[in-house]
Symmetry: C2
Subunit: 228 residues, 2 copies
């Protein structure tokens, strides 16, 4: 499904190089449920962006569904992403001055998804994340932090993707909403969806089936979860 092969990501700020991810190889098969943990600044979001084809590595290869992605055009990247992957950004990245339901429906308006009645699918996704329909026409700045986070999750699942990549999906949620979102991820995984989520909460990570620990841009540990 998703594979990083000796991937390095190096940034240049003001001429000074900084290595965020160093020589990481990671294979995630279809149907897996993986949590990525690690200290702040250790490279978790960078890794997730590379897996989600949102960024390209400085060195190494990213493979998706058995194919290398290095030589794809921007358009092909966008098409693959839109068709196969749902991404929940750590900072939500919702469109301002755009209703919650329109933000959710946005991925349906591209590519093969030109489905009938996107607003019906979007309303259903809104309900799956536990948000009241009365909030559907609020703009992001008219929603609470936790409500915005749930809109971001709804947008990631509205296209029924094969893979959901979620960056701290419960960071702004109280314990009840957290349970609802973990229940949603579990039921997606039961249907065969590959779920990869970054979290710093051990309780949340225990709901996955495998935990990858990152430190200073390297994989420190990679173990199955025993008791769930």
């Amino acid at each position: 499904m998703l594979e990083l092969r000796r991937v390095t990501k190096r940034y240049q700020t003001g001429g000074v190089p900084f290595v965020a991810v160093r020589g990481v190889s990671l294979r995630i098969d279809a149907g897996e449920y993986v949590a990525i943990m690690g200290p702040s600044g250790s490279g978790k979001s960078t890794l997730l962006h590379l897996l989600g084809l949102l960024d390209v590595p400085t060195e190494g290869e990213v493979w998706l569904a058995g194919q290398p992605t290095r030589h794809l055009s921007d358009k092909e990247f966008a098409r693959l992403r839109n068709e196969k992957i749902g991404f929940v950004f750590q900072n939500f990245q919702l469109l301002p001055r755009t209703a919650a339901i329109e933000n959710i429906a946005l991925p349906l308006l591209y590519g093969r998804h030109r489905k009938a009645r996107p607003e019906v699918l979007a309303a259903r996704a809104l309900q799956r994340v536990g948000l009241d329909l009365s909030k559907a026409w609020n703009w992001p700045n008219q929603l609470s932090g936790g409500q915005q986070q749930r809109v971001a999750i709804a947008r990631a699942i509205v296209t029924d993707p094969e893979v959901v990549l979620a960056d701290e999906p419960t960071g702004n949620l109280d314990s009840r909403s957290t349970e609802e979102i973990l229940g949603l991820f579990q039921s997606l995984n039961d249907q065969g969806v590959t779920v990869v989520m970054v979290t710093h909460e051990p309780y949340v990570a225990q709901h996955a089936k495998r935990i990858v620990q990152i430190r200073d841009g390297r994989v420190e540990r990679d173990e199955p979860v025993h008791e769930r």
Copy 2:
């Protein structure tokens, strides 16, 4: 120090009224350390914005340092806020394309704070929140989520405010960074700073001296913390 008197906050979206905070009276004395908890969407951020003079109530009064604030001009609001209050937004609200250290120094460039060498004070605040000086010249989008959160906290404390209002200050932090920030808040409070923080994590709330529970825009419980 800070007081809400029968405060209500009502929003109008598309002509439909929504009451976020209903008839709340809350008094916070100088030197207190208060946590505000409650479900997602219950009105915590709205309450904090009202206490921080970032928003005005639809009904009721907000008092600061024994003075009503309703008839203040925008300029007087801004001066009071800048002199007395440090605010950590739930979504950070850092200026894009502006270095971390410049974001932190910003409050020093207004009002009475025209202090000598703002960059020295900003660098000190950066270190107090546990961020490496090598990140000082990174823009917000060149920092991880947890690093951005710590920049937002540094900006709130750089002016040595009398009150720190923090909205989910540890939401994006791993357990070690969380401990560092709680230690910082404790040492500020030991020096007499009034700290009010919104959190959905019971472990974090237990570090305060008083917990106010909100539900559907009302105060449900308000109790001192026994074992800290």
